[in-house]
């Protein structure tokens, strides 16, 4: 791969990377010292300049940082998920300290996601088995949703401001719809066991797996991809929770740690894993359906193997020709590269 931009984060092992939704030249990286086991965290706000990648700002936290999400209403703000269970809102124009601190989770906060449609809330998930919805202007959470298992990844639907999804260590994708009454179900509207194949009585097609990551398709409403410890990425339609996977993407040799659907194509997604690779896939949904088969087999379009440690974060650039990707790993590196290069090879 010819052109690849690199930035090093010495002494800090990155856990997440996100492109700004406002600027094509701004990237945030959440990182932790000592691989997130003990020690501080550092948030890097990076700018792409003619002289390469430069630090615009950095913020230190007392505990590890596991995830980051840009604000959708203020181009200078972003929230970080911290190991002590807190979520911190930083403003690039305000040095050193967070402008807000949200601390209710009782264990490691592992995932944060700003509401991309309503823009006035964000959501967090934690190892304490809960999901919390927050307003950036209030110190207390607006709502707490019980999951009951280590909740590794949470995400708002890009299509509907009231719908959010969580994946957890218990092998289930949960979908919450905040418009439903808060009955005994706490807005839970679907619970998809990812290890089961569909049918009248779903049958286990694989053992349950810890789910570490998931993302909503940006074009096909209701389609979610999820991945985790069993190394497989599966896509589901939340409108048919018992229907089993739509497609199965196999190739990673260790756990899938992060995945992201393309903002530019409905069938393309990228995944990153503990096998030190990033892989670009088509989920096979654009291929004419084979009537004999109900489950699509995903096709790996290319593989980026320049990281030398676990790859923990990957994100698509929203701007430009499409195809630019940022990836981070425990090798203390941020790599920016063009996924199109992979496809041509």
């Amino acid at each position: 791969m010819a052109s690849m931009l690199e930035f090093r984060t010495p002494q800090f092992n990155p856990y997440a990377v996100k492109y700004s939704p406002y600027f094509d030249s701004r990237i945030a990286v959440a990182s932790s010292s000592n691989f997130g086991i003990v020690g501080n965290g550092r948030l890097f706000c990076l700018g792409l300049t003619p002289n390469g990648i430069q630090v615009e700002k950095s913020f230190d936290t007392n505990d590890a940082q596991y995830d980051v999400s840009w604000s959708e209403i203020n181009e200078n703000q972003l929230v970080v998920a911290c190991g002590d269970g807190s979520i911190k809102l930083f403003d690039i124009t305000v040095p050193d300290f967070p402008v807000m601190n949200f601390h209710e989770h009782k264990r490691e906060c592992f995932s944060v996601c700003w509401n991309p449609t309503a823009k006035d809330t964000f959501v967090s998930s934690s190892w304490d088995g809960t999901v919390k919805i927050w307003s950036p202007t209030r110190p207390d959470s607006l709502r707490t949703l019980p999951v009951g298992a280590c909740a590794y990844s949470v995400s708002f639907s890009p299509h509907n401001p009231a719908i959010l999804s969580v994946v957890a260590a218990d092998s289930h994708i949960r979908v919450f719809d905040l418009r439903t009454p808060s009955s005994a179900q706490y807005h839970l509207t679907a619970k998809i066991p990812v290890h089961m194949s569909g049918g009248v009585v779903p049958v286990a097609s694989a053992p349950p797996t810890e789910l570490l990551t998931h993302d909503w398709n940006k074009y096909r409403e209701g389609v979610i991809a999820a991945g985790g410890v069993d190394r497989v990425v599966r896509t589901f339609d939340i409108r048919n929770p018992a229907g089993g996977p739509l497609s199965v993407l196999q190739g990673h040799e260790f756990a899938v740690r992060r995945l992201a659907w393309s903002p530019h194509a409905s069938d393309i997604l990228i995944s990153a894993g503990y096998d030190m690779t990033c892989r670009v896939w088509t989920d096979g949904s654009t291929v004419p359906p084979d009537t004999a088969k109900t489950v699509h087999t995903g096709i790996e379009l290319g593989q980026m193997n320049r990281h030398t440690e676990f790859v923990t974060g990957v994100d698509w650039c929203l701007f430009g020709a499409g195809g630019w990707v940022a990836s981070v790993g425990w090798d203390e590196r941020v790599l920016l590269w063009d996924a199109h290069m992979l496809l041509q090879r």
Partner: protein, 416 residues
């Protein structure tokens, strides 16, 4: 938020334990079986136990557990006995039976009734009591004397309210009638049922001849009145007397259907009416080690499901996938399935739908060959399964049954 927690969490993400690994792993808080046995099963009304009360069968089984395990009876905190037909749930007799068997008054006793799965439910309940820390050591058991307690009195008359509700009223449709309906609806051929039933007999005959029931059966000495001479004598019952040699699909093919003229179900391809008792001693692995008990196997988890009352026979078909979901196993991880043969039709259908190979189901025969004392069967399957797994070098087993009024249960066990 300790560093060690974070490291172990990461470790799990890398190792990615399969369901089978988890089930097979040995942990101190596992619920283990240190003794399991059953009395022989004898034919209702004419077999060796025809003059023996259910309570006396239970005394025999409980004594057997004490004998075999050498457990100090005062350490057993609760006994749960599954029994279906006994008036008043058999609660009084079973409490008395435990005292006769040698348990002190400090050992609590209760009975329960989940129809044909009562014996399994008893084991599961006791295991869960131990899991939650309510008790340390308990016995799950089951008993039925169909000789003395089988008959039309088992269900009270349905009220008008129940009768007026079509699905509720279905709950009292007799087993034979609804199984006949299910066999017809699901297209289970008479010939297939007869072949399945004959193989149950043949497997049981072979198992009996080669002594494969020896370990699970605890012989009992009982009083028996000879029907011809009317003389009462003491006999030792040490084998299932319902097992008959020389039964083939052809010989079964000649029997007239019992429930419908054009039907397919008859006495030869349905479970026998029998007497018997079974018991399972359960405790945590740590307790077993402390007491020097021999661990025979472990209880992993169980499932219970509901199905339409008229399709009660499909219970295992729904319960087994559910227990797989709970335990993370897949069907190929299981070495032996003990699926109760209430009727050849339903057992055959469930196995077929689940894709379980014939050789993994009831390798020593089942209820068609040696009987189905209702409350006992679930507890009986545990010893049948664990000793067979041990003999064949298998590890993981499933016990399952359909349940009258439309339910199913399944449980996962590991032989050690």
């Amino acid at each position: 938020m300790g560093a060690l927690d974070r490291v172990s969490q990461l470790g799990n993400q890398l190792a990615g334990k399969s369901g089978k690994d988890t089930v097979l792993s040995k942990n101190e808080d596992d619920i283990v079986v240190t003794a399991c046995l059953r009395t022989p099963f004898t034919k209702g009304g004419k077999g060796g136990f025809k003059d023996t009360a259910a309570s006396d069968l239970m005394v025999g089984a409980l004594r057997g557990v004490i004998d075999r395990s050498k457990i100090d009876p005062s350490l057993v905190e609760d006994i749960c006995v599954g029994t279906v037909l006994a008036p008043g749930g058999g609660a009084t007799e079973m409490r008395a039976a435990s005292i006769v068997a040698g348990f002190p008054v400090s050992t609590a006793v209760r009975t329960l009734n989940r129809q044909c799965s009562s014996g399994l439910q008893a084991c599961v309940d006791v295991a869960n009591q131990i899991k939650t820390g309510m008790i340390e050591i308990g016995i799950g058991a089951g008993v039925e004397s169909m000789s003395s307690q089988y008959g039309p009195g088992a269900v009270t008359e349905f009220s008008d309210l129940l009768e007026a509700h079509p699905e509720a009223a279905n709950c009292k449709v007799p087993m034979g009638v609804l199984s006949e309906k299910m066999a017809k609806e699901r297209g289970i051929a008479r010939a297939d049922q007869d072949a399945f039933a004959a193989s149950s007999y043949q497997k049981a005959v072979k198992a009996q001849a080669t002594g494969l029931f020896k370990e699970e059966i605890h012989p009992l000495k009982v009083k028996y009145q000879d029907p011809k001479t009317e003389e009462t004598k003491e006999i030792v019952v040490d084998r299932d007397d319902g097992v008959r040699d020389g039964i083939t699909a052809q010989s079964l093919g000649k029997i007239r259907p019992a429930f419908a003229k054009d039907g397919s179900i008859h006495a030869g391809n349905a479970s026998q009416i029998s007497d018997g008792a079974a018991a399972v001693l359960l405790m945590k692995r740590s307790t077993a080690k402390k007491l020097g008990q021999t661990i025979i196997g472990k209880f992993v988890n169980a499932s219970v499901v509901g199905v339409p009352p008229l399709l009660m026979g499909v219970g295992p078909w729904k319960a087994i996938p559910k227990v797989f979901e709970i335990t993370g196993l897949s069907k190929d991880d299981v070495d032996i399935y003990e699926i109760n043969e209430a009727f050849a039709s339903q057992c055959l259908w469930c196995a077929g739908e689940l894709g379980i190979p014939q050789e993994k189901i009831n390798p020593k025969g089942g209820a068609i060959a040696f009987g189905h004392p209702l409350g006992c069967t679930g507890a009986r399957q545990v010893s049948t399964l664990l000793y067979e797994l041990k003999r064949t070098g298998g590890k993981i087993g499933v016990t399952s049954m359909c349940i009258g009024t439309g339910m199913g249960m399944a449980a996962v066990w590991v032989a050690e």
